[in-house]
């Protein structure tokens, strides 16, 4: 499954087309806004072109900013992820994201890029194979962490820094509220996740604990710190959370929280029932196409069966 998101900036809406590979024949219902295409993956390029060409001239210019969300997708006939061969129709396709499919920090940035409708080139860095220590990558980030965002001549590592950069440079779909109190709340929520939770369950930390203390210890260590952080977030957000963490719109805390909850449940068996506000917003995240498209399994370097 892949998503093609065509952003009509003039009318300020975006339409997410779910595109499902099926047969070699090409057919489609050309009703505006609700098109579903069954196609061979190699026809995606011409399909999107035809949407653009069939638009009225005034809309054509707006459709020049057509962002194709580059997500991991599979050929229906093989289990190997395909090379991402589709062309970007964005007028600005200079964003490059160095990412690892399972990295929650990379996930945050993928999510934010999708929310802002920004297309980017995905460059996988296989942490399991130690590719973060390659000299080329080390030049980009001497700490050997993903994600790293390259935007023309600008190179930024660290998901928090990347997020704030994207927020300022690409202000569409703001991910920080204007209200000072809610803005501070979002910065704080994201900080709790990026400073008090994730660093304590990252791979190198868990490996150390397994080696020095014991294999069973790393899980309880991770669980301790995730639960401590989730407790803190539950208290922080209790009076603010609605559909999302700080209200009815997706903001920075959500961008950090959604991957964190997903990983907490999938990898560390965290029982979310003790965190009712977090559980509730998590249900909202699951329904967001931008979040789904950013998930690890959808990335070009995903290894299925893990």
């Amino acid at each position: 499954m892949y998503h093609c998101q065509i952003v009509n900036q003039f009318r300020n809406y975006s339409t997410l087309y779910k595109v499902r590979p099926k047969s070699t024949s090409l057919s489609g219902n050309r009703k505006k806004k609700k098109m579903k295409f069954y196609h061979n993956p190699s026809h995606l390029h011409s399909l999107v072109s035809s949407i653009i060409k069939s638009s009225k001239r005034t809309q054509l210019n707006n459709f020049t900013r057509c962002f194709t969300t580059r997500v991991g997708f599979e050929s229906p006939r093989t289990s190997r992820p395909m090379e991402n061969t589709e062309a970007s129709y964005s007028s600005s396709s200079k964003l490059v994201l160095y990412s690892y499919w399972q990295s929650s920090c990379s996930w945050r940035v993928r999510f934010a890029l999708n929310l802002k409708g920004l297309s980017y080139e995905y460059k996988p860095v296989n942490l399991a194979k130690g590719e973060q220590f390659n000299p080329d990558f080390e030049r980009l980030n001497p700490l050997h962490y993903v994600p790293v965002l390259v935007d023309g001549d600008t190179v930024i590592s660290d998901s928090y820094a990347i997020f704030l950069y994207l927020e300022e440079k690409y202000p569409q779909r703001p991910l920080l509220p204007a209200d000072p109190r809610l803005k501070a709340l979002n910065l704080q929520g994201a900080s709790i996740i990026s400073s008090s939770i994730q660093p304590l369950h990252m791979l190198s930390m868990l490996k150390y604990i397994e080696e020095k203390i014991g294999p069973e210890e790393s899980l309880s260590w991770a669980q301790l710190h995730i639960e401590k952080g989730f407790c803190a977030l539950e208290k922080l957000l209790k009076d603010f959370a609605s559909r999302f963490a700080t209200g009815n719109e997706v903001y920075m805390t959500d961008v950090f929280l959604a991957p964190q909850i997903a990983i907490a449940t999938a990898r560390f068996n965290i029982n979310m029932s003790t965190f009712p506000s977090l559980s509730r917003v998590n249900e909202s995240y699951k329904g967001l196409p931008e979040f789904q498209a950013s998930s690890p399994e959808r990335q070009p370097d995903a290894v299925h069966g893990q």
Binding site: I162, E168, P180, L187, K212
Partner: protein, 218 residues
């Protein structure tokens, strides 16, 4: 600077908390008077009902500005930067700004959380006291090496140029801790060593140091 009495700005702080130290520096640089409210973390005062009403999580620092209470040093600093724009701490240029945020986050996500009290106590108890020291050194040195690389082509008199900026607020407390608490061999970090000297010449930094706070042991 810290004052007694009824101030609009109140800072809940612990003298040794490097997160509190960052905010103290910023308040001093911006010439903002504030009331210092000590929260003794060793005595678990962060769990007192009064403090919990302010910050249910029990973390310092917390800044109270009239009706507004902000927690988390990063959030507090961005709040101060926006509300009190005198002595700006963030460059306008996006790339330089991003550089400052990266350096700040190397400290607050890659160094400080891995050498805070809870983590070090755990390692001391479960492995050994020597392992604790080794662990702290490894992570601080890794972060410091990354900072040296990151800032090498940008540093001037201070971390990202010739003016004090956001990154310096995070570096100063971390480098101070490396010297005073962890006994690191700082000769391998020439830039950070130089910055440490430079910070010690600025009253706003010196006045913010742990030993200068009202709750520092005499």
């Amino acid at each position: 600077m810290a004052t007694a009495g009824d101030q609009q700005l109140k800072l809940y702080s612990y003298y040794r908390s490097s997160c509190s130290f960052r905010v103290r520096i910023a308040l001093n640089l911006k010439g903002l008077k504030y009331e210092y409210r000590a929260v003794n973390l060793l005595k678990k005062e962060q769990y007192s009902p009064e403090f919990r009403k302010l910050n249910p999580i029990g973390y310092v620092p917390v800044l109270v500005d009239g009706e507004m209470a902000v927690s988390d040093s990063f959030a507090i600093l961005l709040y101060l930067e926006e509300k009190y724009p005198q002595h700006p701490l963030l460059p306008k240029d996006l790339q330089r700004k991003a550089l400052n945020f990266q350096a700040a986050n190397i400290v607050c996500s890659s160094i400080q959380p891995l050498q805070n009290l809870a983590v070090l106590n755990y390692i001391e108890e479960r492995v050994s006291p020597d392992a604790k020291i080794e662990w702290a050194k490894v992570h601080i040195e890794k972060g410091f090496a990354a900072l040296e690389d990151l800032l090498r082509n940008y540093a001037g008199r201070y971390a990202t140029g010739d003016e004090v900026s956001f990154a310096d607020l995070f570096l100063a407390p971390q480098i101070h801790a490396a010297f005073t608490r962890f006994n690191l061999d700082m000769t391998q970090f020439p830039l950070l060593s130089r910055l440490h000297e430079a910070y010690n010449e600025i009253p706003a930094f010196v006045d913010a140091r742990p030993d200068k706070q009202p709750d520092a042991p005499s």
